[in-house]
């Protein structure tokens, strides 16, 4: 058995790497959190696996409770919310703009 197929044979949930996924989610975890979540989430995913008992062949995925087509409004100008109120919520601002660390070196 090759390395790749051996990997594919391993339990799907075992392959969930909490640290890797947390990085995708832009979330720093402490070591203690990562260890705790790893165990808990594998347990939850094991529970979710019971969905495999069901034959869903041909069933339409239901993304929403109601079918809504594109919703448009008339293209009329209405008052916007107050700019100052928004900037007042920013943790850091400069010249009435939100301030963040350098994005471009």
């Amino acid at each position: 058995m090759g390395f790749i197929s051996a990997l594919l044979m391993t339990d799907q949930n075992e392959s969930m790497d909490v640290r890797y996924v947390a990085n995708l989610a832009r979330l720093n975890l402490t070591e203690a959190e990562a260890d705790q979540f790893q165990g808990q989430l594998v347990q939850i995913l094991d529970y979710v696996k019971q969905l495999d008992e069901l034959d869903v062949e041909g069933v339409e995925p239901m993304a929403h409770a109601i079918r809504v087509e594109n919703v448009y409004r008339e293209d009329v100008v209405v008052p916007s919310m107050d700019h100052d109120d928004f900037i007042a919520n920013a943790p850091a601002s400069i010249n009435n703009l939100v301030r963040v660390p350098n994005i471009i070196e």
Binding site: Q12, M16, V18, V21, A22, L24, A25, R26, L27, N28, L29, T30, E33, Q36, F37, Q40, L41, Q43, I44, L45, Y47, V48, K49, Q50, L51, D52, E53, L54, V56, V59, E60, P61, M62, A63, H64, A65, I66, V68, V71, R73, M81, D82, D85, F86, A88, N89, A90, P91, A92, V98, V100, P101, N102, I103
Partner: protein
């Protein structure tokens, strides 16, 4: 006159209309009750005493000018995830420390237009994730019937305040049971409307295809009044439906002769507490004695609802909560670069349950797992909906347990997320299907904790829920019971 804060909207509305009380008196009375009693319960995370009294004065002026709306001058609390201009909106999270809402949610704005007095903001599980209110980063919330027990969640503060007479009514939100489950645990009425009936504009989104705002009140009639005010199309929410809102007061009938009440046989299964089963079966017998017809209905896919829900809800949450990045609002942890800032802010700002769900949701949406988890869960969601469609061909409403157990002790499940999730087994199916559901008091456990009867109706079946619920209330006394307002406990 007995204390105003203990009365229902219907009673207060009559007193206000007759000039026997003013909104200022009422609001001051509720504030005094909160000052005296909420240290023990922890249901409010923010009070707006000054603004509430200003609104009450305005309501009294409107009444003096001849207005007589059912909510004019009635104090109502809003869950801490509804934006109210000028107030905080922390979602019980450290991440939103310091945030001030620049606008008002449509549901709250409609209450304000009716003259309701917005009292303050109700405690909850952080970002509405939890079933016990133990995930509030601000303060614990306790069940007024037994302060060693949880009030339920995520709208725990909304339910506890109504049950303890610290608010006449409140708004909550329900993604998987977050209105109905705390209503059941605290012994009040809580209704989750049909998806799309109430605008979500201004609601901090958890899972957008499941979230609905709804009332928690002391009686079914009061629920009808609040629901009337907040329902209806809103151009600011693209998922808000263009349907006519019925006159819900017309639904408050007491005769249930010929009503077909579906009994979900699959919901009386293992895991259901004996006291809960006894109370719910007694409620069904009450309906039968009142002339309703009991019909067995089958919801075979509901047992997969928790598994499907925790895939779909976390997937949607992982996307919705991406906006909390410390850039535009809330607390920020600085970093050397933007990614460091975002990761550090989220690490410091989110509590453990929110982190767990973001990670789970990110995982089920990630490449290689999307079909196996997310699409599969959506297909199962379709099967659950189909079960309900077929059941409602045979009955007008479905009546069963709202929760598998009464309110559990604080700390009992806080280290075991899966056990906590399983507590949502009877409420989650209605969210997945998009139908409406309501919990109302139907008895007490041997330990004296309230038990909730869940009524579920088809899409736009709110009138049927209110009819069945009101009739039950008129035939029973459970909704009149109040927890002892002992100050010795806790």
């Amino acid at each position: 006159m007995s204390a105003l804060h203990t009365k229902t909207i219907s009673e207060l509305s009559s007193l206000l209309a007759a000039g026997e009380a003013s909104s200022v008196e009422l609001t001051a009375d509720v504030i005094a009750a909160i000052d005296a009693g909420d240290a023990r319960i922890g249901s409010y995370v923010e009070m707006n005493k000054k603004q509430a009294l200003i609104s009450a004065t305005a309501a009294d002026a409107r009444r003096a000018a001849g207005e007589n709306l059912p909510l004019l001058g009635i104090p109502i609390g809003a869950k801490d995830l509804l934006n109210v201009k000028g107030q905080g909106n922390r979602c019980a999270s450290k991440l939103l420390d310091g945030y001030t809402s620049p606008y008002t949610a449509t549901s709250v704005a409609r209450l304000e237009e009716q003259g309701a007095v917005i009292l303050g903001r109700m405690n909850m599980d952080e970002f509405a994730m939890g079933g016990s209110n133990e995930n509030s980063a601000i303060q614990p919330c306790r069940n007024p019937w037994d302060t060693t027990r949880v009030p339920g969640g995520s709208s725990g503060g909304s339910a506890a305040a109504v049950a303890a007479d610290l608010a006449v009514a409140t708004l909550g939100s329900d993604t998987g049971g977050s209105i109905r489950q705390p209503a059941a645990f605290c012994g009040c009425v809580g209704l989750k409307p049909t998806y799309g009936m109430v605008s979500r504009f201004g609601l901090t989104a958890f899972a957008s295809s499941l979230d609905q705002i709804g009332p928690l009140t002391k009686t079914v009639a009061d629920t009808a009044t609040v629901l009337q005010a907040i329902s209806g199309h809103d151009p600011k929410d693209s998922t808000s439906l263009k349907v006519d809102v019925p006159d819900y007061s017309q639904a408050l009938k007491t005769d249930v002769k010929g009503m077909r009440i579906g009994v979900p046989t699959d919901y009386f299964s293992e895991g259901l507490d004996a006291d809960v089963e006894t109370a719910v079966r007694a409620a069904l017998a009450t309906y039968e004695s009142m002339g309703a017809e009991l019909v067995d209905v089958s919801l075979p896919h509901s047992k997969y609802a928790i598994a499907a829900y925790y895939v779909i809800a976390t997937a949607e949450a992982s996307a919705n909560l991406a906006r909390f990045d410390g850039v535009r609002y809330g607390a920020r942890v600085d970093g050397d670069n933007p990614v460091g800032l975002v990761k550090g802010t989220r690490a410091a700002g989110f509590g453990p349950e929110v982190k767990r769900r973001i990670i789970l949701g990110t995982y089920v949406l990630s490449s290689g797992y999307y079909d196996a988890y997310y699409i599969k869960a959506q297909k199962v969601r379709g099967l659950i909906r189909k079960d309900f469609d077929e059941a409602f061909e045979k009955c007008d409403v479905i009546a069963g347990p709202c929760t598998p157990t009464p309110a559990f002790p604080i700390g009992e499940k806080s280290d075991d997320p899966l056990q906590m999730y399983l507590g949502d087994m009877y409420t989650v199916p209605a969210n997945l299907a998009g139908i409406c559901g309501m919990s109302l008091p139907c008895g007490f456990s041997s330990g004296g904790m309230p038990i909730g009867l869940q009524l579920m109706g088809p899409s736009f079946g709110e009138s049927a829920l209110l009819h069945a619920g009101h009739a039950f209330e008129q035939a029973t006394e459970f909704h009149r019971a109040r927890p002892a307002t002992s100050t010795e406990a806790s």
